[in-house]
């Protein structure tokens, strides 16, 4: 049997870069929320909701959700790529991961949307 190793899928850089950019976005979001919490945003339901429902905050939260899922997609897929060799299983795991992350993103977006 020919067991030719095939490489040359040209998405290495794109995903690597995406993971960095989404990482930075999440870091900024974390700092904003952290700052909010220090100022007592989480002390009560009202203050917390007020903090999160501000127009800009909702926009930033959406960005965070998208970033998180994209970041996790690249990261989790990296794990499958590292440890799982059979192509069939690997593809299945990729699809499951993708579906889960899309689901999570929708769920979280819907929470923010409602505010």
């Amino acid at each position: 049997m020919v067991n030719r190793k095939i490489v040359g899928a040209h998405y290495g850089l794109r995903d690597w870069l995406a993971q960095r950019i989404t990482g930075v976005v999440m870091a900024v979001f974390t700092l904003i929320v952290g700052l909010g919490l220090i100022q007592g945003a989480g002390a009560s339901y009202e203050s917390w909701r007020g903090f999160m429902s501000a127009g800009l905050m909702r926009f930033v939260s959406f960005l965070f959700i998208v970033s998180l899922c994209w970041h996790a997609w690249v990261g989790v897929r990296d794990i499958w790529m590292d440890y799982i060799q059979p192509a069939g299983i690997k593809l299945t795991l990729h699809v499951l991961t993708l579906l889960a992350l899309i689901g999570y993103a929708g769920w979280a977006a819907q929470i923010i949307w409602r505010l």
Partner: protein
């Protein structure tokens, strides 16, 4: 002359006689003048001529005697006997992740395949000039820290990414060599070389773990070289 005894635990495997590898306890007398692990290994071989390991220059430039020494990759000829903790056996195993031919000798085919895959030679299609191609000292300096690689495979075989995908991930040694040619002002194949690496496996299996930097017996820094390759890819993408 004063002698002292060194205790070893050595990975043994001879496909002719052994079903599977085992660890052998063995000790050897060494002289006060024996400085390096390789000196002790040579004494050991005089005692038991069946112990197989590679060695050549015994001064750290040929890259033959790379081993896993007490869990860490290194060259036997550059490892000081004095650096071993007293009273504990020295544990010697072959380089991790590569098929073992016998005892401490691994099959390096996969490693060299990856090295060869990056086209490790200068590509310049201009007709060669009468004299040398000019290169300023500053341009030449770019190659420092890259061309000195001895292909001992300490780095690649300490890299988890290489353990899991030795057939697809070029590995630190190969990528260092790739950048050695990218960085050479005389080489004209930069784009082709970047194309060759812009792949989720070949280059981007590197997760900046930096085990390679930790073990390189020549003090080279593949992570830095890989970072520079990524820089160039970003530069041409944006």
């Amino acid at each position: 002359m004063t002698t002292r005894t060194l205790q070893f635990k050595i990975y043994r495997y001879d496909p002719d006689t052994d079903q599977k590898p085992y660890m052998q306890d063995i000790s050897v007398e060494i002289d006060a003048t024996d400085r390096k692990l390789l000196d002790a290994l040579v004494k050991l071989k005089a005692k038991d001529d069946a112990i197989a390991f590679r060695r050549s220059c015994r001064e750290g430039v040929c890259g033959s005697d790379a081993l896993n020494i007490n869990g860490r990759n290194g060259l036997a000829c550059l490892t000081d006997i004095a650096s071993f903790p007293e009273g504990k056996p020295i544990v010697l195993r072959p380089l991790p992740g590569l098929p073992v031919i016998r005892d401490l000798i691994v099959d390096m085919t996969q490693f060299f395949k990856q090295y060869h895959s990056i086209k490790p030679y200068l590509i310049n299609n201009d007709p060669p000039p009468e004299r040398e191609r000019l290169q300023s000292p500053e341009e030449r300096e770019e190659l420092n820290g890259l061309y000195e690689c001895i292909l001992c495979a300490c780095c690649s075989t300490s890299c988890p990414s290489f353990w899991w995908n030795p057939d697809k991930f070029v590995g630190p040694a190969g990528l260092l060599a790739a950048y050695r040619f990218i960085a050479d002002t005389r080489d004209q194949a930069t784009s082709e070389r970047l194309d060759n690496l812009e792949d989720p496996y070949r280059l981007f299996r590197c997760h900046t773990i930096m085990n390679c930097v930790d073990v390189c017996p020549k003090g080279l820094n593949p992570t830095k070289a890989i970072g520079k390759i990524k820089d160039m890819m970003v530069q041409r993408a944006i």
